[in-house]
Symmetry: D2
Subunit: 406 residues, 4 copies
């Protein structure tokens, strides 16, 4: 243990990671470097500086990573129409590789030989942090206090704080949510509490980012998204940066009750868990991206993407963003997006996102051929006979030889 010299800690500024910082100093006798990132979780990051200083931390990293997060992680993921297990938009999963990358880079800059994080030993996040770190810096050491220490109850944590002079904001602790939460620009998640009974409905008071569909406005809101090579570059005609796109959609989505989700999911470590999520902007992005692709993508490319997507989602969920197989899929996905340009008009209304229109200079929709009216010879209906006959041939031969499909 004594061999470690410096550890970079993913530090939120909250109580748990403050305890970890002190515990690392005490237990490992290491210098701690804190890293606090604004990835859109909706809390100030600057206060973490004073708290870190108070614990004697000398190297303090506080960074605004919102643009990088959306541009290099969220957007590439949405190019694949990624959903895990048919429902989950991977809001937590997609933020972890960015944190892992920065932990490693800061370790390189500061000469640290280890990283540490506040994820528990039961969840997916430990895996995502650590797989990323090992993939980017193979010799790095990882300290995961929740897997090591015995401070496995609120009481023991409080005792530890008292013993080690870690200031506790008791007012805040009392009003603490009964849920385990995680937030970034893509989503906020809730686990634990009454959610541990999957038959129990989530209470209205739990949700933080969206109004309920019932409380949303009685008139719909229309929004037009402009796509360029698969990414949204403008909303209602106004060009904006990736993070601004997502913030804007979160706002309008949340105001219209869009993006709540309540699921039971399968963790990579082998258990089922129940989680609730609010992903207002992401829910809009998924619907709209499919719509612009429906107009611009070749059919077989679209189907190939659909066939690959579950695997790609699994990679991200399980923590393999930083892997050669994810990169390999990403180049294929990105290759398909050159033509994904145009506008999608969506209607938001009390929890619903529906597509009201889509148009594109790269549209493959051919009105002359698709029409039910006279097409002036654009399509020869007689071609269909041969098409069907040869597609049926193998089955006709089989049936002719007595194969029975009934």
């Amino acid at each position: 243990m004594s061999s470690l010299k410096k550890v970079v800690l993913a530090y939120s500024g909250g109580l748990d990671t403050s305890v970890i910082a002190r515990w690392l100093q005490e237990t490992y006798d290491v210098e701690v470097v804190t890293f606090t990132a604004d990835i859109g979780q909706g809390e100030e990051v600057e206060p973490a500086r004073a708290k870190a200083k108070a614990m004697g931390i000398k190297e303090i990293y506080i960074e605004d990573l919102r643009e990088e997060f959306v541009r290099d992680y969220v957007f590439p993921m949405f190019r694949a129409n990624t959903i895990y297990e048919g429902e989950y938009l991977l809001g937590t999963s997609i933020a972890r590789p960015l944190i892992a990358k920065r932990l490693v880079e800061i370790a390189n800059e500061t000469g640290a030989d280890a990283i540490s994080h506040g994820a528990t030993g039961k969840g997916n996040d430990q895996v995502r942090f650590e797989l990323g770190a090992y993939a980017l810096k193979p010799g790095i050491k990882v300290i995961a206090p929740w897997r090591e220490w015995d401070l496995n109850s609120r009481e023991k944590l409080m005792d530890y704080c008292k013993q080690h002079n870690i200031p506790v904001d008791f007012a805040k602790q009392k009003t603490k949510s009964p849920y385990s939460m995680d937030a970034n620009l893509l989503h906020i998640s809730y686990e634990g509490g009454i959610l541990e009974d999957p038959w129990e409905e989530a209470e209205e008071g739990m949700w933080r980012w969206s109004v309920s569909p019932e409380a949303a406005p009685d008139t719909p809101t229309y929004v037009t998204l402009t796509y360029k090579t698969g990414d949204v570059v403008a909303i209602d005609g106004v060009e904006m940066s990736p993070a601004t796109v997502l913030e804007t959609l979160n706002k309008v989505g949340g105001a219209n009750g869009v993006g709540r989700l309540d699921i039971v999911e399968n963790r990579y470590v082998g258990m089922k868990s129940r989680g609730c999520y609010e992903t207002p902007g992401g829910t809009i992005l998924l619907k709209a991206h499919r719509a612009i692709e429906s107009l611009t993508l070749d059919r077989e490319v679209a189907h190939l993407k659909d066939a690959l997507m579950p695997k790609y989602a699994e990679m991200i969920y399980n923590g393999y963003w930083w892997s050669p197989e994810r990169k390999m899929l990403q180049v294929a996905i990105d290759e398909s997006q050159h033509v994904v340009n145009g506008d999608v008009r969506v209607k938001l209304y009390k929890g619903n996102v529906s597509v009201a229109g889509r148009r594109s200079d790269d549209s493959l929709f051919d009105g002359k051929i698709a029409t039910f009216e006279d097409d002036a010879g654009a399509y020869n209906q007689k071609d269909a006979e041969g098409f069907i006959k040869l597609n049926a041939l193998r089955m006709r031969i089989a049936a002719g030889k007595g194969r029975n499909l009934f």
Copy 2:
């Protein structure tokens, strides 16, 4: 042409297929057998009898296939959480194999050597009818009038009617929808008209099966679905037949504005087309089935199903229900459903379907392990370290040898 003796026609009783019946008699000098099925399209089928008789048809089949349709086609499809191109619930596609099968069976019963249908040469339905027919009766002949005749405008059709004394209900023709529609117990579809411009929003007056979300009740409706081996067997505790399940869900879904969809899809014959769909019950079924599976299916089985689903959906969309490859996938899907038992409580509100709870005697959710509280040793957090280390090993070795993932 003269070699054909008897043809079984998929006969709706409407104008188009009445023209076809007469055209077959005239053009091919064949005896026509009509087959009219109630698959829940919401129109009386009995009137078809008199119309057929008036044209001199002697063998008239009129059948209620609603239970068979839902039990043997819709339910098996929903076991796979089937969606085509991320959106479409395959409402038209799944009805065709049943029609194809009955056409062939009636051909066998009546000694007919051909079948005929009213699908155009541009669409998917011709493929679905004909692939099914060829697969089940390889020597069958198919007559597809829309690919053969020159009655390719409303005017020419009307002229034909006048010339051949086919009675036309002009009042009905005048109020005819501008849309090409298809309906069965699973859905109603709309194509053509202003929909041929994908940027144009569908008009409210088009929709027939559901109220708009805006017009739906201001308070939610809760419904509990009971699953047995992957199929719904009871609603709110009342056991009911498959068709009754779907009718019931259509009613409650439609009343709550659930199930509207507006997409651009890729047809098997190679073009993109724009379609609108109302699938109230099916939309509920998909959400609820995923929910009961989330509790009862093993993770890897669920992921395997997700990986296979796009292929399975493609088979159904393209018309390969009656194929050995669909059967092969079906046995795998069905094998997974033995444990898919339990209740799902869904909340319907102004177009939204959300899951409020799920429970099952076959639940794999283990509260003792999943809990954020003390789990009394049910799960050893230290196991996670080895799990992560070995999963990372291949990437650590690669990084150690200089591979760079950035």
Copy 3:
């Protein structure tokens, strides 16, 4: 540690597992039950009885599992044309689930609360044994001595033998192969020694089950395999049991230099390793099964099987035979095999297996259609035009709109 009472040990009768038996008695103070199986490894299993008795073992299981092994594991696997990483026929992998199952069953019979095995902590076999055991008996304890003890060199093992009066056949030890080997009716494998350099060619003296191609007979041997529902039931017209089929093919294959393989493979635990394999009978089975399928399987079923195979192979290699996902794939594979009946004639010559002919009452080969001669109208060549035109339509539309594929 003291809580364990009885452990079932996978016991070969050799030195290593004898040391383990004693070590378990000493270290855990448990009663040891030995289980020794003949799965065709080519060594007598009966001598294990005396050795076990000499160590005071009271419950000794010695079983001939060859028929069960081939019938329930090898044959089902070959129905899928299973190959791992394009080369490996999974000879070791497929034997492990049977051992795991018997260990669990014997634990149930004898009231044992643990199992133990002699696989190292670096390999796949520990995973296969233990995943199987946990899946079949979730509360079982596993003792894996190679992961626990410090007897990690030959010297230390010998010292342990001396200290604990375990008889060592020094003559045998001296002539011990420099390779780590594993054998069963499907194959024999070699690892370690000079093979640890992947550039080094395996020495001729290493191979045990086959003559070299150079040393094989100068004239070919023809063998006819008769298939029933995907499995070989007769050779050269003589019906025989599964194990006898494999033994017979091993003999004739080995005599003709068939089935040697030298690869670098990726272990589930994350490292690459180099292995050499002799699989004479299996090599013939794979070639012949593909040949009989080529005649009897529908094209799309065959392609679906090919698409699923790598996943299925991975499941077996990684130790997930006893898993719901493997079962799910197996029912699909087995569903496809009802029609896989007929004869395949193979030619064996100096390492080559080639197909000389195949025939089947379930053949889908239609000479009338396939012929280059006049086919008397069995196939209408004009159908091809429509088939091609519609398959090209999506790409023609795209090219017409300026998409460039060059």
Copy 4:
């Protein structure tokens, strides 16, 4: 018909395409442009010039495309370890897209509005030519004489020649092979004749490119292939161009009896056909490429490639080389090949290709970790326990709740 002005004909110089040239002139009254390419079929292409001139052809293209063929088609395909239906190396399929591309380019250069070819209406080649042409030039017309004319027997062809003064080399016709053959630098194929009975063994006299294994040298030949980003760039240390690589391997492979194949395959047009192939160089390339990948590719990348390969092979076999989906897969495959560098030493002996060694500066094989000897702590065997425990968790939970896998 009269609207066509100029047609580019894929012209071999042989009798059949000479008849086609004349038939096009007669039937369509068009100017014919001939295109004859050397893609390594082993016949002189220059004689085609005189023959074309004799028929009054003014625009005659004769080209050596061997380097382009191997570099841009064969090599990219082998990067994916492509095999169709487990056996076929796609020798015919991969040459068609190059021909299609040149036909279109020549049409563009010469202002032709149509292309024509000599492929029959029963085969795959018509599809490959025409899909490619339509994808690259959507307005092109295709004339496929074999689908149109009635010269469907040798006699009728001869009559046509007589009537139209097409010179016939009767000596050559008499010694004409009874097989339908196709050849290029990758392979030669045989169909028809006695091969139409799949039970009949191919006769020794049929094979043209390789000696039989029996007739091959009694001593093995060793060859070392050097790979750079997935392609062979040198043989036995001598750098050479792509076409020279393949020629060299064909020579040494053929001399050692390597690369014969006899299969029943499924054509895209729906029938099964029996074909024999000689692919000496390709057989070596496949084996060697897998070997160099086994050392240099990450496991999951390799498995992903294996999972995608059947789909990729299907695309090439069915004629979709010129498609956006093939391009999408290609970028993923190519992305994986940056690290596929190094040497493979293969042993050729009487039909066998075996790997004798592989080495690479990009090797991921880690002797320190893989070793059976003391690894000095490079790998912690205790990690395996947690790895197995968590991988087993979902199955242990299921078994604990009564799920039974037996």
